[in-house]
Every structure is written in C-alpha cells, then in structure tokens.
C-alpha cells in the first residue's frame, strides 16, 4: 500500500513547475520530410494536436481545430496536427484530411515518439505553447463543448480580447 501511495507526490509537482517544449523538436511531414518546431514558433503560438483515424473523439474535435486554423491563422497561430496512426493505417491519413478539407499542417508520429516527448497519455491530446516553447495549456480527451475553452485559450495566447 505504501508503494502505491508513493506516486501521489507526482500529482502535486505540476503545481510547482512550468513545462517547456524544445524548439528543436523534429516533426515528420506526410511526405517524409522533417521540419523543426522552431520554424512555426517564429510565427506565433502553436497548438499541437495528437489524433488518429481510429479515434472518434479526435475526429469530432478536428472540425473545430480547422475552424480555429482558418480564424486565427493571420494572427500567427499554427495548428500542427500529428497523427499517431501506425504504419498499419497510415495510408488513410491524407485521404481523411483531404475529404474533410482541413487546411492545417499534418504530421506523422507512427511510433509515438513525439507524443511521448510531449507527455501525451490519452487521445486526443492538445498542447498549446507560446513562442518560447512554454506550455500554456494542455488538455486530454474531448468532450463536446471543449472547443469553447480551447477558443478562450487560443485568444489568450494570441492576446485577443474576448
């Protein structure tokens, strides 16, 4: 029992420290080429979204991510949509994006290495970071209506008054 309770201190560490994402983080585009996160951070805040073609809540959320990309693109926001589909279902990723006419940049992370580096645990995972790489907001899962809170967080990151 003592061993089980030993993990409880970790629940409180998050209140004490702030999280940062390395700007050197390398992301793999759909065509296999790599790009570093710093290229996006130059433009403004970045929302990193992890999803998969087999994840129903992720797909519901992506509709709103596309709306935010269209709405805040000119304000400097970049939405990076990272598919954790394994090689087994990877062929479906681009056709799904095309069919839904999503305009944000899509990347691949088939063995979930970027997902783990950003402390992903559940699907979908969203991480909003500022131009310095500091994590401003993080959210696991999707409950319909979460997009309203996401919009507030994006506005705050972009310094747009409500």
């Amino acid at each position: 029992m003592i061993k089980k309770l030993f993990f409880i201190p970790f629940l409180f560490i998050s209140f004490l420290i702030s999280q940062n994402v390395s700007s050197n983080l390398k992301l793999t585009k759909l065509n296999g080429r790599t790009v570093t996160l710093s290229e996006y951070l130059k433009k403004g805040p970045v929302l990193i979204n992890f999803w998969a073609t087999w994840c129903s809540p992720c797909k519901k959320e992506m509709v709103y991510l596309d709306k935010f990309e269209r709405k805040y693109k000119d304000e400097g926001l970049s939405i990076l949509s990272i598919s954790v589909d394994s090689q087994k279902s990877l062929s479906h990723v681009r056709s799904y994006i095309r069919a839904n006419d999503y305009i944000y940049d899509v990347f691949l992370d088939p063995n979930r290495q970027v997902f783990k580096k950003l402390n992903g645990n559940l699907m979908p995972t969203n991480v909003l970071i500022d131009t310095e790489g500091k994590v401003l907001w993080r959210h696991y899962g999707y409950i319909p209506g979460d997009e309203e809170n996401m919009d507030l967080q994006l506005r705050s990151a972009l310094n747009i008054n409500p």
Partner: protein
C-alpha cells in the same frame, strides 16, 4: 525494505528541483496510475512515470514502471526505459531505448504499446547524418521480445511466458528529390531462440535488404516498398532439421496509391507478404518453427482499423508470413456536411495446403498474386461503408456504418481422396451496424449514444459429402448489441453507461458461469441478462494536468486491438478500475 525502483525514483525526485533551480534544464513528465480489482481475479496495479528533459542540444527520457501485475504483461519494478539524444546541425545521436521506423515498416517499425503489451524497441544506439536531400543512419542494439505461447510452460493469456533475444545492426540511406523520395534498408538480426522443451537455444541469422520509393503530389501519392529476407541457422543441430520448412528466403511487397479528385480520394493498397511457408498446424507456433517475419517488421495490414467495439472484436488476425491482399478506399463529401467512406479489403494465403493419405500437410505448388475466394486459402473479406455528418444546426453529429465480414482464420483438414473432397475450417461470418450520435446542448452539456448491432456466425464448417456448420456458440447465430450512453459537461466531467449484451456465447464462457452486478440485475426485467456485461464509468478533469477516471462493473472479454496488433483479453467481472493521468 526500499526497492531499487523506489531508490531510483527518489534520486530523480531529489534531482528534479535542483535542475530546475539552475534554470538551464527544462524538465517535464507525466504519470499514469491504473488500479483494478475484479471478482474473476483480473486485478492489476500499473504505474508509469515518464520524465522528459532538454538542455541546449540534449534531450533525455526516463520511464519508471511499477506494475504488479500490469493489465497485460509481466511484473516490473524499476527504470524501464531511458534514452539520451544529441542533435546538432546535421547530426543526431541517440543512446538508450531507441524506437525508429523505416519506410512503411516492412524492414523495421519499432513501437512500445503497453495496451497490447507490444514492445519491439531496441536498447542500443543510433547515429544519423542528414544534409539537404540526403540522410544516412546506422543503428545497433539488443532486443528482448516477450510473447505468449501455449507451447512452453507457464501459459497465461495475460502474462508472456516466452522470450527471444535479438542482436541488431542496421543501415539506412534516403534521398529526397522534388516530389520523389527513395531509401534503402539493411538489417541484420541474430536471434537467440529458446527451444520449447530442452533448455537449449537455437541461433538464427536473419538478413533483410529492402528499398522504398515514394511520390507525393497534390493529385497523387505513390508508395512502393520491397524487402527480401533470408535466414539460416548458425548451429549444426541436426535435431532441428526436421523442423525447418522448405522456404528460407522470403519477400515482402507493399504498394499504396491515393488519387485525389478535388475533395474525393481513391486509394488502393496491395500487400504480398511471403516470409515463410508454414502448414496450418505450424502457422501460429513461433516457438518450434523459426525463420518467419520478425517482431521488428510491423507492416501495413491493408485492412481498415475500426473504432467500433464490435468490429474490433472480429479483427482479422494477419499472418505476416504468408498473406496477400488488397484494400480499396473511396472517401469524400456527398454534401457540405456529409462525408462518405467505402472500404473494401480482401486477402488470403498464397497457396492451398492439402493433407495426403498419411495425414501430412503439403502445399500446392501453384502460387497466386491476387487473393483467392477458395476457403482452403484462408480468405478474408470485409466491406465497410460509413457516413458521417452534422445536422440540426450542427448540434447533432452522426456516424452510421454498415459492415460485412467473412474470415476463414484456420484450416483444420483438406483432403482429396478417391475423388472426394473433405475439409473443415473455422469460419467467422458477421454483419455489423455501428452507429454513434452526439447531441451538443448550448450550455456545454452533450449527450452521446453509441449503438452497435452485430449478427455473427462463428464455428467450424466441414464437408464429407455434405457441408455441415457446427457453431462455436450454444445457438447457431450470435446477436451482439452494444449500447453506450454518455453525458458530458465540458470541460470538467463525463459519465457513461456501457451495456454489451448477446443472446449466447462460446461454450467456455457458459461453463464458467458468472455473477451479475447490480446494473445487470436491474436490466433483467428488460431482457435475459445471462450474457450481459454492463459498466458505469466517469471521468473528471481535476485541472488541465490531472484527469481521474473510475469504472465499476463488468467488461466483456475478447480481442483487444491497437495499432493493428490484437490480443485476447479476458473478461473483467464485477470490479472497479481507477485511473489517474497527470502531467508535470
């Protein structure tokens, strides 16, 4: 007495504030705590802590685990994974636990997926140099693969009982020219393969040589990958000669094409995996029969990965050693708010296996390039159609699917004697309607309905003059329904009631019997709940860094699939699960 694991963890906790004080390091992490207790002893305590750090051009990763026992897998307590990475200009160096993928995964695709207890990563190193359009990398390391087998002592469907050690060396080169990219792969794997009964080892040397070629444009994607695999046994143990099958040179071919016509896309994938030719009785016995596809080769399955609960339970089990097939996909918007998708998949083995009059298996020497419908070739066929859209001022989201599945997973007998053809095989024939409806209210409340229906025939079909079907179930046909009702209040909480029920089940489930929980008892007035598994769950977002989930009730056993790999998971009867996910 404090264990080594807790000592390591304590050191990390002491170091953490010190490194933060210096301000040069960025450290973050996550923890996942899962605890479950059930009436049928499906108990688990699973704790994982990941620590990620970066400092200038360096990044590091530590993962601690304390699982006694985990949901699937072996008990572990201590530092499970670690890696240090250095990236500067054109160079990347990784030391520790390395996970990479090459091309489409025909040669190498490493993943750590604890939900299905798949970990095919290596402990070693990688060095990569990339300059403009070229890149080269080399990797080396050791791999320890644990698997579940009934061919060795200690079989348990939750705990792997058989392990293989591999020593790996690999090289990869790739180039990008405009819309084209190409790569070559070389991999050498020396496998230390324990025998089933004798306390001895076989040493197998595998060599994989492959290439990939890809084209990527707005109108068209093309992908081609080929790998040639050879293997030989290093020792001269004559005792094993009779265990060798005739092929020790295998190939894998995968192609994928997507054509884009506006928002519509048409995709065709083709697989031809022929790494080893095993007779039906040897097909899944990786302990006694060596030389087949390696766990490192996690290749495209070329059939749809479903999100439906009932469809996932009848996922086709791919045989990477001997399978060919194709998948056709058409996807696009019918109207502005309705997306339609059609998937058709078909596969089979390369040839027919026949029992001679001495009851010994032999393969027909006719090999095919397109999948066969003949039951003796273990055919699989699936047609899936889905529409997904929004209505009622975008407040109602609906996903409605329909699927037919036909699978012959195993061939038991197949004989031609005196002009008479006798055979028997296992058959799965299912019709499934998965649906999902989500209604969003104005005040951030939402209501979710998941309703799935399935009719399934599963059993042995055999013929000796007349064809007879012997169902695996107490009834000829199984009718499965899954109902999930969820209420959510964004962004804080959601509650869900899941009911999985059937009219019958496989004999082993009926013989074991089961007790009902109070949810199942309360449903008794609506239908016979002998085959009903019900649970109630809730999820609460404590804050943006902590999520709590609780589940009470029963969950039906069956096949659990993730990333195209499936495991049989035993039922979870009348118990509770607690999960806490935190980031820091």
């Amino acid at each position: 007495m404090i264990s080594k694991y807790f000592y390591n963890l304590l050191i990390s906790l002491i170091l953490l504030p010190n490194t933060l004080l210096f301000g040069q390091f960025n450290i973050s992490g996550s923890s996942s705590i899962n605890y479950g207790n059930s009436q049928n002893n499906y108990d688990f305590t699973e704790n994982l802590i990941d620590l990620n750090g970066n400092w200038n051009d360096w990044t590091g990763w530590l993962q601690f685990e304390h699982s006694q026992p985990p949901q699937l897998g072996r008990n572990y307590s201590g530092l499970r994974k670690f890696r240090i990475e250095y990236t500067k200009d054109d160079y990347t160096i990784k030391l520790g636990d390395v996970y990479e993928f090459w091309g489409n995964g025909l040669t190498l695709n490493m993943i750590d997926d604890q939900s299905i207890d798949l970990d095919n990563g290596i402990r070693g190193g990688l060095i990569k140099w990339s300059k403009d359009i070229y890149s080269f990398e080399g990797l080396f390391g050791n791999q320890n693969i644990w698997r579940i087998s009934n061919q060795v002592l200690g079989f348990n469907d939750r705990i792997p009982n058989y392990d293989i050690d591999n020593t790996i060396y690999g090289l990869r080169g790739s180039a990008f020219i405009d819309e084209w990219s190409a790569g070559f792969h070389y991999l050498n794997v020396v496998e230390t393969h324990p025998t089933a009964i004798l306390k001895s080892y076989r040493s197998i040397n595998h060599t994989l040589l492959g290439f990939n070629l890809d084209y990527f444009s707005d109108k068209l994607d093309l992908s081609l990958e080929f790998v040639n695999k050879t293997w030989n046994e290093k020792s001269n143990q004559k005792a094993h000669e009779n265990m060798k099958d005739k092929v020790n040179n295998g190939i894998g071919l995968y192609t994928n094409t997507n054509i884009y016509l506006g928002s519509w896309s048409i995709g065709i994938s083709y697989k031809n995996y022929f790494f080893e030719e095993f007779s039906p009785e040897k097909r899944w016995d990786f302990v006694n029969y060596v030389g087949g596809a390696l766990p490192l080769q996690q290749m495209p399955t070329v059939f749809k990965q479903h999100s439906s609960i009932l469809l996932n339970k009848i996922t086709h089990l791919i045989d990477y050693n001997d399978e060919l097939g194709f998948n056709l996909r058409i996807e696009g918007p019918i109207t502005e708010k309705i997306i339609a998708s059609l998937f058709y998949s078909k596969s089979s083995r390369h040839n027919e296996w026949i029992l001679d009059d001495q009851w010994a298996w032999g393969a027909k020497s006719e090999y095919i390039l397109l999948p066969s419908d003949d039951k003796m070739y273990n055919p699989f066929e699936e047609l899936f159609f889905e529409i997904n859209g929004y209505t009622i001022s975008n407040k109602l989201n609906y996903v409605i699917g329909i699927s037919t599945t036909y699978d012959v997973p195993d061939l038991y007998t197949n004989q031609y004697i005196n002009g008479n053809h006798t055979f028997s095989y296992e058959l799965v024939d299912a019709f499934t309607i998965p649906t999902q409806f989500t209604y969003i209210f104005n005040n951030q409340f939402s209501l979710d309905f998941v309703i799935e229906y399935q009719e399934m025939r599963k059993g042995v079909e055999s013929s000796n003059y007349t064809t007879i079907f012997n169902s695996n179930f107490a009834k000829n046909k199984q009718f499965n329904r899954f109902i999930g009702i969820g209420l959510g209040k964004s962004p804080k909480w959601s509650v869900t009631l899941n009911i999985d029920y059937s009219n019958t089940d496989e004999y082993v489930v009926i013989e074991n019997g089961r007790d009902k929980n109070f949810i199942e008892e309360s449903l008794n007035s609506l239908w016979d709940t002998s085959f009903t598994w019900a649970n109630f769950g809730m999820m609460y977002n404590i804050n943006q860094n902590h999520q709590l989930s609780l589940t009470y009730g029963s969950m039906r056993g069956g096949v659990l699939c993730s990333n195209g790999v499936c495991r049989y998971v035993q039922p979870f009867e009348n118990g509770f699960k607690i999960g806490i996910v935190s980031t820091f």
